[in-house]
Every structure is written in structure tokens, then in C-alpha cells.
Symmetry: none
Subunit: 402 residues, 2 copies
């Protein structure tokens, strides 16, 4: 039996409250003369105190050696098997702009591109047109392109990227990208692997035929490439599985979208770090599971800015007393994956986990850091097991068997 | 999805180079007044330096408590599930003499034995006849025994052991051994569990009938017992799965055979330890994955010679600078299983793993040893996950999901 299925059978509804505080890309690698990771270097007296009282461990989001994207990382945090519930790229793009997908929708990533008069691609990104130009082009296409047999939605994302969604009956997503990944070639013919996917291809071709003529005099974005066909399926709902009233306190669209995907309420929240924790306080009585998402640890890691990542962690640490004041039953501080500033990218390294509750078994740790976590009492876990520990420590799980 | 399948989807081809240095039977148990294992006792400044810079862990080749043979141990090192891809004993025996098996071949272990004039076994090993006598008997049998409907190959192995291979259409291997495991009884009747296996039995009986008459006046080897029927199937190929150009640098036939089984190039190499590392240097440009096999750690362990095992480890340590001079991107030092000299046999104890690369997350270890590994940052892994870590550290894996 899958762990999530087991949990759904054992879980009971209680008022106890769980806070899952996710610092995106938290895990790091040591650098410099002190040879410390960002988390090890950060002055974070509040987290270190929690580490002394709580239990530490390391979590693999997908598996040893596997570098996860944000989708798999968060699904694993929410207790979903990230391989079984892989989210297609088109769907993730749509979630990233808060597009309200419905089950059965097929979402596709669009690149505006440039082709010559023979249809040969000369720029796969149309010179990275500005987002405003993109938005105008999308409006123009939408006002003129009419297709039959399905609804479509076209929304700008950023620069040359947009998202196209088809809503209709029996649409499939087993379709190759039309992007040949190189210039000097025409767009690839799209082929559907099954009947449902062939239906989608027909719609896309109808759409493209008209869009081409709408765009033909535009410069430089006179054509579109299609990538990452993905059908949106309704996920098993977080609140039903775990008998929780959950909410997401996140500022970035993709993470709001991921939370919405599993059925969490997504709260309105301002742009500052303080706003996240104010939202937590304001909504404390309404929910008993709170997913708080901090983006800036990951952004600093991606930028290779070790010092800034240290600062973000320190800034989060200053917010911890506000959380504790609310008296959560369980507080988990972790990441969705590692983003070592040394690598400037997501990585496969396991993610530090701090679990604090009155019911956890404390270990020998004196501080929160990667090396301390490697010695921690939680040991090495699969990220998707974290929800089991959260629920157990909140005393929400019944005994298994007699 | 199986980890190997996941890796095959995520892997990209790069020039980065991985060295997998396997000291056969590396893991040990502590003995003596200092109560150290062979690895803990060995003076090995080079490996200890790598341990400080790298990450340690313990690997279970098959599972907790399971003592692996050399086949499962190596398959797990190569990233194959050793239970799913179990190698039959007949096949392993054939690999051990470099016999070029083809898919569909059925390989059988032969014991020359002694029977009395009523066919009762009086010596299951025919007094352990010399290998030369064995070879002459095999020649004699081959020159006189002619069977129809399939090809056969008979090759001496060592002392009283030989290997018999049938090559034909639709042959099975679900057949009991004819060896009753005791003297004072006749050989057991062989029975095939399915049609394909019944076909094999028919061939074996035809072969045996003639071989008996060829051997009837030989002393003491006047009869044969059949064991370990195993059909050879082509394994998924290492280079295709991982997009690598791999080679094996191994001196002993069985390990060369195991490497050939998964499609590695098997290099010619002299008999000394220096020869292994010279071969590494000479072939450095041609490959990007190098499996180096050291047999003598295991032999010393099997002989119960703790001091000799320490010496072998020390001798390997002296070769490490030659490896580092080549600037590998990833260097892994481990074993295929444990062979504690205290037990004089393979054992179930997990195997020490040292992984060194510029991209690994260093842990608190100060030296390479079993106890240090139990505290290491890699934690406890299944041996078949090691390839994932090797590929990740060589930056050969793409991000999973968006």
C-alpha cells in the first residue's frame, strides 16, 4: 500500500495545527574558508533552538541523485509520490500564471518565434520580445482566431513565452513538441500518439493556421512554437486525504498554483516577508494546516549569491517567534529541494528537515544545518514521508492494527 | 518507476568521467586489541584525504541481512536490481571462464564424480581431480559425444568442475539438479517444469547417456552431476541506459564476464596491481566510465587473513594518486559486498562507500572506515542507487520535472 493511502485510512480529524514552512531551495553546499553551507553559516538563534528541542533529518524529494523541479519537490512535501503524479510542463506553466485549469484541459507552452518567408526558424525566441508586446499579440490572436469543437485560452507569460489551453471533450497530450530546438529548420509536424491526442493536434493545427495569418506581418514574432503538451487531471485532494483544512501562504504564482492543484485554499498575501506571517496569524483560527512558501532562498541560490541566501535565512529566522506565539502543534522547516549557490541551480542533494513538536523524539543536534541533519534523529527520509511525520506529531494518526 | 528506468530518462551524454574502484569484499568486522576492521586499520592517507573532502555512506547490495554473491553485488554496483536480474549459477560459471554465451543458451555446472557399478555415488567430486585431468576428460567427451537438435559446448573450469552449454531453439532452465548432495545414492532424475525445460532435459539425457559410456573406464571420474541450470538472457546494456562509454579493468574472469554481461568493453590487463592503473591511464581518453576491480581484498577475507587484507587496502591506497592525476570528475571507492576475515566468507554487513567529486556535499568524516561511513552524509543506500549518485555528481542527470 502506498504511504499516502495508508495515511488516509489512519488519519483522524483534530484541531491540532501543523505549519509547514518551506524555504525554497534551502539545501546548499559548503564554500569559503569556513567551509559552511548557507544554512550552516546563517545566524538563526530561533531555528537552532528548535533544532535542539526537535528532530532533524535529510529528505530526498524524488530519489538519490535525482534533481527535482519545483513541481515534484512540492508534491513530495504534500505527501504525493512525485513520480506517479508528475506534472506536465504545460500545466505547470498555466499554474504559474494562476490560470484556473479544469480537469481534461490540455495546456501547452508557447514560444513566439521568428520564421523567414520559407517558414525556416531564424529565432526560436523572437528576440525575446517584451512581455507587453507578448500581451498585445495574444490579444490580437484571440480577437481573430476562432476554432470549432473546443474552447481555447491564450495567455501571455513572460517575454516570448505564452500558454495555450484547449478545453474540450476527449483531448490527449501525447504529442511531440513542434520546437525543433535549433534554428535553420522549419517547425516540426506535431503527431498524436493516440486518438485523443490526434484530436488535440487537429485543434492546434486549426489554431496555428489562423494564428499564422494574424501574425504574418508582425516583427519579429511572426510565428509560434508549441511545447510541453500536458493534460490537467484533478489530483487527489489534500484536505480529503488528510482530513485537514489547509491553506497556502505563498507569493509566487507557481507555488500558489501547486497548492491549488491539490485543493488548498490559497490566501491573498502582500509582497513582503512580514506579509506571509501576518497572513498566518490572521488565518490561524480558520485552518489547521499552513503551507508557507519563501521564494527568495531559491532565487539567491540560482543567482549564485551565497551571502544573500544566508541573509534570507536570517530574515526568516526573525519571523519564527511570530509562528511560535501562535502555539502550533507541529512546525516543520525545510525546503522543496536544494539550490546550492555554488551550483547556481537546483541539485540532487538531500534537503535539511527540522521537525519540532511536543511529541517528537529530540536527537543530539545543537543547530539546524546540513551536517547536523545528516546526524539527525529523523534519519534519511523520502520527502513524501514527511506528511506522515507531520500528522503523527500532531496526533492525527490512529494506531495501525490492533 | 524503477530507479534505473528513471535514470535512463534523465541522463545526458557528457564528457565527464567516473571511476568506480571496487575492492572486492571490502567491508569487514573489527578484531584484536584495537578492535578495528581491516579498512579502519589500514594506513591509507590518500583515501582518508578523499573521505575528508567527499561523502561517505553504507550500501546494502541486496537488502538488510542478505549476503550477496559476486553476481548480485556487481549488478547492484552497476545500477541493476540484483533480485530482478538474478544470474543463474550455470551462467555465472560460464562467465567465469570467459565463455561467450549467447541469448537463449542454457549453461549448466558440471561436477565430475565417481559412481560404483550400481550407479551409486561414492565421491561427488571424483577426488578433486586436477584441472589438467579435467581438461583431458572434456576433450575426450567432446570428441565422441554427438547429439542432435542442438549445439553443445563443454569446458573445464577447475579441479572437478566444468561447464556445459546447450545452444538451440526454445530451451528452458527450470530443471532440478541431478546432484543429490550426498554420497550413497544415485544421481537424481532431472525433470523439466515446462515444455522448454523438458526439451533441455532431453538433450542433457542424450548427452549423459553417451558421456557415461565414454567415461565408464575412467578412474575416479566416471560420471557427471548437473547443477545450476540457467538460461542466459541479454541484459539491458549499461552504455545504452546511462549514455556512457564504459570499460572494465579487471583481472579475474568472473568479473570480466559480469562486465561483459552488461556490455562494458573489457580491457586487456596484466596480472599486477600496477597493471590495473596503467590500463586506466592508457584508456583514459577512450572512455568516460571506468570499473576497476581489485580481487585480493576478498581473497584475503575468505582466507581469514586480516593482516593481508589490511595490506591489500594499503597497496590500493598507494595507487590513488595515479587516479587523481587523471582528474576524474567522480571517484567512488567501495566493494561489491563485505568479506570480514573474521567470518572467512561473504557477509550481509553493509559496504563502505566513499564518493568524491567537486559537487558532493562533504560530511563530518575524517577517515574512510565502516564506523565513519555509518555517520556519513550519503547515509544508508541501496547499492543499486549508487549509479544515480555517480551520474548526479558527474552532472549527467537532467532535472526531473519542471
Amino acid at each position: 500500500m502506498d504511504i499516502q493511502e495508508l495515511l488516509s485510512r489512519q488519519v483522524i480529524e483534530t484541531e491540532s495545527r501543523i505549519v509547514l514552512l518551506v524555504m525554497d531551495g534551502l539545501g546548499g553546499l559548503p564554500v569559503g574558508s569556513q567551509f559552511k553551507t548557507e544554512l550552516e553559516m546563517a545566524k538563526k538563534p530561533n531555528m537552532d533552538k528548535l533544532a535542539k528541542e526537535g528532530a532533524l533529518g535529510l529528505a530526498d524529494p524524488v530519489g538519490r541523485g535525482i534533481t527535482p523541479g519545483s513541481g515534484p519537490g512540492h508534491l513530495a512535501l504534500f505527501g504525493y509520490d512525485p513520480v506517479k503524479y508528475l506534472i506536465g510542463r504545460g500545466v505547470l506553466e498555466a499554474l504559474g500564471i494562476d490560470f484556473p485549469l479544469k480537469p481534461g484541459d490540455v495546456a501547452i507552452r508557447i514560444n513566439f518565434c521568428t520564421v523567414d518567408d520559407k517558414g525556416i526558424i531564424t529565432d526560436r525566441r523572437a528576440g525575446r520580445i517584451g512581455t507587453e508586446v507578448n500581451a498585445k499579440l495574444c490579444e490580437k490572436v484571440k480577437s481573430r482566431v476562432k476554432i470549432s469543437g473546443a474552447e481555447y485560452f491564450l495567455e501571455p507569460v513572460k517575454e516570448h513565452r505564452a500558454v495555450l489551453v484547449f478545453r474540450g471533450k476527449g483531448l490527449g497530450d501525447k504529442i511531440n513538441d513542434s520546437d525543433p530546438q535549433v534554428v535553420g529548420k522549419p517547425a516540426l509536424e506535431m503527431k498524436g500518439e493516440d486518438e485523443a491526442s490526434k484530436r488535440t493536434v487537429k485543434l492546434v493545427e486549426e489554431f496555428l493556421e489562423q494564428a499564422k495569418s494574424v501574425l504574418k506581418d508582425e516583427k519579429p514574432a511572426n510565428m509560434m512554437l508549441f511545447r510541453g503538451f500536458a493534460c490537467f487531471q484533478k489530483y487527489p485532494q489534500f484536505n480529503e486525504i488528510y482530513k485537514l483544512r489547509s491553506c497556502a501562504i505563498a507569493q509566487y504564482p507557481m507555488y500558489r498554483g501547486l497548492a491549488r492543484l491539490v485543493g488548498m485554499d490559497v490566501l491573498d498575501v502582500g509582497p513582503e516577508m512580514d506579509d506571509l506571517f501576518s497572513a498566518l496569524k490572521e488565518n490561524w483560527e480558520r485552518y489547521n494546516f499552513f503551507f508557507i512558501h519563501i521564494k527568495k532562498t531559491d532565487s539567491a541560490g540560482e543567482d549564485g549569491d551565497w551571502a544573500r541566501k544566508v541573509e534570507v535565512i536570517q530574515a526568516v529566522d526573525k519571523q519564527i517567534p511570530k509562528v511560535l506565539k501562535l502555539k502550533p502543534d507541529v512546525l516543520i522547516i525545510t525546503g522543496d529541494h536544494s539550490t546550492p549557490s555554488r551550483l547556481k541551480s537546483h541539485s540532487w542533494h538531500p534537503v535539511p528537515v527540522l521537525l519540532w513538536s511536543h511529541n517528537c523524539r529530540p536527537d543530539l543536534a545543537k543547530e539546524f544545518g546540513e551536517r547536523a541533519c545528516s546526524q539527525g534523529g529523523l534519519g534519511r527520509i523520502r520527502m513524501k514521508e514527511l506528511m506522515a511525520l507531520a500528522l503523527a506529531n500532531a496526533l492525527k494518526l490512529e494506531k495501525f492494527g490492533a
